[in-house]
């Protein structure tokens, strides 16, 4: 069990290529280069983490993949989709998105929040009910259908958000620092439950984080990014078997993997030219 730099060698859990970012760059109108020449291959079944300091463009990369933003240069190559680039059109049910905040409708109860993506696709309440209830059971929220978001804890809100993203059974789940605002105990619990869900349903995850520990615990691939300009710095394979549980979290192997990932991240931070300042 060791962490190694890989060039194109597929990880143990992943299958054929789902999406390839080819020379993708993004320059904002204010002249900031958020991403520069990003080459990244996402395979079916990957749990891929984008790890990096603030301003390295990891959220921008996620928004590009989601189609919420278009690349300035390069292209997104969705394999097996027929279209070369369906970042803006195409089949949206293939993409689930979890934001940094739970981003729920505050006036709607848990059921209605999870139903929403199906509702927007014209699925009636009655028809959607079995799917919604199943998703709520999977995120351990059975019995909370009638609660409104303000009655829930931060962790529970995030569970609703995950259920909402998964209710359309997307092939790829994009998560933008979803657990950053949660306390550690809740975060660990959600990490475990997310892995369980992922192993069960076999979807692809792209997970943005700036926590080394979280990225190593969750993913089979960690893509370390560097800032100014945002770019891929290194790619690491986390060669530890699933299922990963609390025992893995306290194992020496995990510690060693974290240490190596941390070294690479420090390398990425130091490679950044210019003064450090915060901001996205």
């Amino acid at each position: 069990m060791k962490l190694e730099k890989v060039a194109q060698q597929p990880g143990s859990v992943s299958g054929p290529t789902l999406l390839a970012l080819r020379g993708v760059g993004k320059v904002f109108s204010n002249g900031v280069t958020a991403l520069s020449n990003v080459e990244l291959t996402i395979r079916e079944g990957d749990f891929l983490s984008l790890l990096g300091p603030s301003g390295c463009g990891k959220s921008t990369a996620l928004r590009l993949i989601a189609g919420l933003s278009t690349p300035t240069s390069g292209l997104l190559d969705w394999r097996g989709s027929g279209a070369r680039d369906r970042s803006n059109i195409g089949d949206r049910s293939n993409i689930g998105f979890v934001f940094q905040e739970p981003t729920l409708l505050p006036w709607a109860d848990v059921f209605d929040n999870v139903w929403l993506p199906l509702r927007l696709r014209g699925v009636s309440r009655v028809k959607a009910a079995p799917t919604v209830m199943e998703m709520l059971a999977r995120v351990h929220l059975t019995g909370f259908e009638k609660a409104v978001p303000r009655e829930l804890s931060g962790g529970m809100k995030m569970r609703v958000s995950i259920a909402r993203a998964m209710v359309t059974k997307p092939r790829i789940l994009l998560m933008d620092e979803p657990f950053a605002a949660l306390d550690e105990i809740t975060r660990f619990k959600l990490n475990n439950d997310l892995l369980e869900l992922w192993q069960d349903q076999r979807f692809t995850v792209v997970f943005v984080t700036h926590s080394v520990f979280e990225s190593v615990f969750l993913s089979n691939r960690v893509v370390v990014m560097a800032a100014r300009p945002g770019r891929v710095f290194a790619e690491l394979a986390v060669d530890a078997p699933y299922p990963r549980d609390e025992a893995f979290r306290t194992s020496p192997d995990y510690a060693a993997l974290c240490r190596q990932a941390s070294d690479v991240l420090i390398g990425a931070i130091n490679s950044t030219a210019g003064p450090h300042h915060d901001g996205h």
């Binding site: 998105f97 981003t103 409708l105």
Partner: protein, 283 residues
């Protein structure tokens, strides 16, 4: 570990003081304004008696109450006329305000182009506009409605516009990701998000529509064409019938308060489950 301590039942002095204070505040919130009101009315009565003020200058509160009772038929039928204008114009203000706000929300260009007109209508005193309306509009009710509407629709329009534009950006992205149509975005996201703003505007508009109705009646009433409460006031003024003037005034005030309370209740009932403004203070 020896034994688990018995829970302490007696409150410490600090907590006890807080409990006492809360109890006082609960009672005082109602009692204090009531006491001041009663004191003021008593003082009003005394001032009349001590200074021998004739009732056509300043009637005693008892006389006003008596007039309210004696002239009830006349006054309440006038109140009904005023109320009809008030509620109709409030209804039109809601339809017009929300309708225009939704139209504005469709495009920034529409909003930029037409919002100035709304402001012009709002800032020009209605009393000054009325002579024009008087020329162009024949129907008496339409005249009054138009006046009251002009006064009342702006807070609804401006609040609802603000609300429709204050949607969380991530939520907007979420709708976009799920391929929501414009209509779906309006129906499931922007309109519910604008609800607290709209209700805030509605509370202001409720009071304004009453003011608008009374002012319109005043201007129209000067030509003897109106039968609302305002014309009763003008009439009573001409005849130095101060008790009736006071009675009509009290009726208008009470109506205004009632409208405000009802709209506050409506707002609370709609928002109580989710919006910060309607949540009970939890320390």
């Amino acid at each position: 570990m020896t034994a688990i301590e018995e829970p302490v039942l007696a409150l410490d002095p600090e907590e006890a003081r807080r409990v006492r204070q809360e109890r006082f505040e609960r009672i005082g919130r109602w009692l204090l304004p009531l006491a001041i009101m009663i004191l003021a009315i008593w003082l009003w009565d005394r001032v009349c008696v001590w200074n021998d003020i004739p009732k056509y200058i300043l009637p005693r509160p008892g006389v006003v109450l008596q007039t309210l009772h004696d002239d009830a038929g006349l006054l309440f039928s006038s109140l009904l006329v005023t109320l009809r204008i008030t509620f109709l114009s409030l209804l039109l203000a809601v339809i017009g305000g929300v309708g225009l706000a939704v139209l504005f929300a469709q495009s920034k260009w529409v909003e930029m182009s037409f919002f100035p007109f709304a402001i012009v209508l709002q800032v020009t005193p209605i009393v000054a506009i009325f002579p024009l309306i008087n020329i162009y509009v024949d129907n008496q009710t339409t005249k009054l409605l138009l006046c009251a509407w002009i006064v009342a629709f702006f807070p609804i329009l401006s609040n609802t516009t603000l609300g429709l534009n204050s949607v969380d950006r991530n939520l907007r992205d979420m709708f976009k990701l799920n391929g929501a149509t414009r209509w779906q975005q309006l129906r499931y996201l922007r309109l519910p998000a604008a609800m607290p703003y709209f209700l805030g505007g509605l509370k202001i508009a409720g009071g304004l529509s009453l003011i608008g109705a009374v002012v319109a009646e005043f201007v129209a009433g000067a030509t003897g064409q109106s039968s609302g409460l305002a014309s009763r006031i003008i009439e009573a003024g001409y005849r130095l019938n101060a008790p009736r003037l006071f009675a009509a005034l009290i009726l208008i005030s009470l109506t205004g308060i009632l409208i405000f309370l009802v709209l506050s209740l409506v707002s609370h009932l709609i928002l109580r489950r989710w919006h910060e403004s309607a949540l009970r203070q939890e320390r």
